[in-house]
């Protein structure tokens, strides 16, 4: 990073009269605009956007980008988010005009290649899940959860059953209870036991006839595989309830164990995690779901079907479908990247992903656990949750301080303060695409930080353009947009006010 100062806002850079986009000369007869669109529908002035030159915009965003950490530049062990390498080949292929240039309402005859790709992806995801019926529609993991719960609700309604409750472990992602609520269920929390696994006594006590679904994350957010899942599934099924798997952590079990084979009835994938879709600075993701065959009729429409003559079509004729959770087909650009990734891996490659994700996490765990105790488990799956509790107690150094200081060492911080069941949690997920050298460098940084002066750590990061923003002030007096200020002439400009045009 050569630059230290963040660029001014686009709006502060605006200069009246600067312009980039110019339309070609109008090639249809020019009629008075009033004849086309009556004045009462039109704005009096053009929209108050900034006026900029092309180099202004290019420098602005290029410079802004340098104020980010990103996988392409940094180790990014953000637990639960699976920040693995995003292959460049997938970017180029997803951008092919024959894929990126398709309108969602094109005639089926003009999208046979796309439908074939999506149909194959449905099958691939079904096979990997061990759950054959797949909907590619949900736009993100949370929407996948919601969709699957709506599928479950529709199935219960169809059977004439009234089930009002969804059970969620206390270690679950916040999206689980939020999705349950939105799907019309009451979310009830099930405790974790001292090992970090589902507390079976608490689970049994809460497993009433009102329970429709239990949402499990396995491996769970503590980084452990819950071996009780078979028992859990059996108890649920004995009561007519369903087992849902939050697939956020599928990276740990690809090709090793399939959710459907351990009694899961419905699940979602996060292709942007498991199948290497770039996270985009906060999306786009996708949230395809896979369900048991008998739940297939309730999946949202359309799904991709294949006719006897080998042609593909969008199947809308599914009377029991729950409807739609978004417009159009789905986050296809993300799905294309997932397809490219799965086809690049093959069966051995997918299994190797899980093996090396778990190997890397365990290796890192072995390197740091003497300084950062891991309360739940000597071993882990694809991630582990260390606790800075002792450091906090003895030296006043909190998980957040450690995370912030890691930024000075060139590493993105782990997820902190999640899951909620581990105090001073540092949730570390290295992924399979990192090298042993990187893991060792990261471990050295973590160990060095544990010895550093607490005062320094409280001030970290020290090398970044800004440090320790006042989040309380941000929430107390929210400033959520730049506003034109008529009374405040710019102190730095002698070329007139830096503001957007008012016309």
């Amino acid at each position: 990073m050569l630059k230290k100062d963040q660029p001014p806002l686009l709006f502060e850079t605006s200069r009246p009269g600067r312009r980039i986009a110019v339309a070609p000369p109008l090639d249809v007869p020019e009629r008075p605009i009033d004849d086309l669109i009556p004045a009462r529908h039109r704005a009096d002035t053009p929209p108050p956007l900034p006026e900029l030159g092309e180099l202004d915009v290019v420098r602005h965003y290029t410079n802004l980008s340098s104020f980010n950490m990103a996988i392409d530049a940094n180790f990014y062990p953000l637990g639960s988010c699976t920040m693995k390498y995003n292959p460049k080949r997938n970017e180029r292929l997803a951008a092919l005009p024959g894929l990126a240039g398709l309108h969602p309402y094109q005639d089926e005859s003009s999208i046979q290649g796309m439908l074939q790709l999506l149909s194959e992806l449905q099958e691939l995801l079904g096979e990997i899940a061990g759950l054959p019926a797949v909907s590619l529609q949900p736009a993100a993991g949370a929407q996948g959860e919601l969709t699957a719960l709506m599928v479950a609700a529709a199935a219960f309604r169809d059977r004439g059953e009234r089930r009002t409750t969804v059970l969620v472990p206390d270690s679950a992602h916040g999206t689980n209870p939020a999705s349950a609520q939105l799907a019309g269920f009451q979310a009830v929390t099930v405790k974790s036991d001292a090992r970090g696994l589902v507390d079976l006594d608490d689970f049994r006590a809460k497993l009433t006839d009102e329970v429709g679904v239990f949402m499990i994350t396995n491996p769970n957010t503590v980084g452990l595989f819950d071996p009780q899942i078979g028992t859990i599934a059996r108890w649920l099924h004995d009561r007519g309830a369903l087992l849902y798997l939050d697939g956020a952590n599928m990276n740990a079990i690809l090709g090793v164990v399939r959710p459907g084979d351990m009694g899961v009835d419905l699940m979602h994938y996060n292709p942007h995690k498991t199948f290497s879709g770039p996270h985009g600075g906060g999306g786009p993701g996708a949230g395809p779901i896979a369900v048991r065959d008998d739940l297939a009729p309730y999946l949202p429409s359309p799904v991709v079907g294949r006719r006897d003559d080998g042609t593909f079509f969008l199947d809308h004729d599914r009377p029991k479908a729950i409807g739609r959770v978004r417009a159009f087909f789905g986050n296809v650009g993300v799905l294309v990247r997932a397809y490219c990734y799965i086809r690049s891996q093959g069966p051995e490659g997918l299994k190797a992903v899980a093996q090396h994700a778990v190997l890397n996490a365990n290796y890192l765990l072995a390197l740091v656990k003497h300084a950062y105790p891991v309360p739940m488990g000597e071993r882990c799956m694809h991630e582990f949750v260390a606790s800075a509790r002792a450091l906090a107690r003895d030296r006043g150094v909190r998980a957040m301080d450690i995370g912030k200081r890691l930024i000075d060492y060139g590493f993105h911080a782990p997820t902190v303060y999640f899951p909620l069941i581990v105090s001073e949690a540092l949730m570390i997920e290295p992924t399979e695409t990192e090298s042993r050298e990187t893991l060792e460098a990261f471990a050295r940084a973590l160990l060095a930080i544990a010895e550093e002066d607490p005062d320094l750590l409280h001030r970290a990061p020290l090398t970044t353009p800004i440090s320790r923003p006042d989040e309380v002030a941000a929430a107390k007096r929210p400033v959520l947009r730049w506003s034109p200020s008529p009374v405040e002439p710019s102190a730095t400009s002698d070329r007139g006010p830096r503001t957007v045009p008012s016309f």
Partner: protein, 452 residues
Amino acid sequence: MAYILNTDDDTREMLRAIGLDSLDQLFDMVPADFRLDRPLDVPPALTEIELTRHVGALAARNASVEDRPCFLGGGAYDHFIPAAVDQLAARGEFYTAYTPYQAEASQGTLQAIFEYQTLIAQLTGMDVSNASLYDGGSAVAEGILMALASGSRHGRVVASGAVHPEYRQVAETFLTNLEPELVTVPCRNGRTSVDDLTAALTDDTAAVVLQQPNVFGQLEDIEPLVAAAQDRGATVIVSVDPIGLGLLKRPGDFGADIVTAEGQALGNHLCFGGPYLGILCCRESYLRKIPGRLVGQTTDREGRRCFVLTLQTREQHIRREKATSNICTNQGLMALRASIYLALMGPLGLRDVAEQSARKAHYAADRLAEVPGLSLAFDGPFFKEFVVRVAGGKDPARVLAEVGRLGFHGGIAIGRWYPELADCILIAVTEKRTRAEIDALADAYRAALSSS
């Protein structure tokens, strides 16, 4: 193995450090009887050359909007995307980062989102925008949930029948398991009448959903509709076309409470339906119920201006089942693209895009109305999209198939959504279309109608 850096030596050393002999032992927490005892039944791995060939062949079997001039709309539009949008959004520093949880490591993304929120607020004339939702359809549903959470009314949500049918389907799906019923106001002559809307309103109507321009491209007489809904105490949600705001009245100026939009047209590729951009903004009074991420301005410990995720107590990772929405990952990269697009357009550029789209659409409507067997279905003012009626009992799908064979993505048969309009085709025209393409489209329709 693709993308794995551990060598065999590394693997051995690392296993030894953990105290294991084999990779299989890493999974000894997984009960043996569940473990897959065979390879996954997926095709063998492809190298980059093979993958490029394979996916390239699939792509070649599609006819994209670069192969055929595109006159399809219905919420997704073939507007021009300047090169700088693709080039800047392709920076790995943007697209391989994630949600900016660590402000110090994410100021680039945070400032870009703050600017996005500002650009959207400026464009719509609303007070506050969130950091993005999934798409225009789920944005309508989230807008409804906001309206429900903001008041005590839970009986009814009223939607104009001229709101995009898929948006209404999404709303319907969301409301299936919740209390309110969704009531649709039928449209007459392609628009929503104030009397019909008023008749559907009740004292427990929480929200009214309108669309401007509506799904037929028609411009609603929006102010009386908004006033009628607000007079009965309902929250007014209006779905808009962001390109249209280069020319059309801003929703903040006609009194909308919550504004949603499909932001695809702002610099995002068509991609067969996604990833797109759900725009959601509102009046300040709805702020505490807004779904999803928000970025706010603050200062750091040395008083420097900076940006952070804020008001997070609304969100699922804090509030869990009491959150305003279940959304977590949103459409950050699409919002970035929209910002870059708007920065490149500026006020006059966006106005030109809107005005040229409107002018070319009106030219196209005139030319198509001259084609024997076609007529304009509605007579109200429209923006860039219009509906033509096919005479003589001809099936629009067959006509469109023939128009497609002649080299055009010629329109959308809307009988799939409106059985009473089974003889109708929706046609959209953007600034990218040329007079020659429009003339050729009219010729293609002429030929298709005379042959089919």
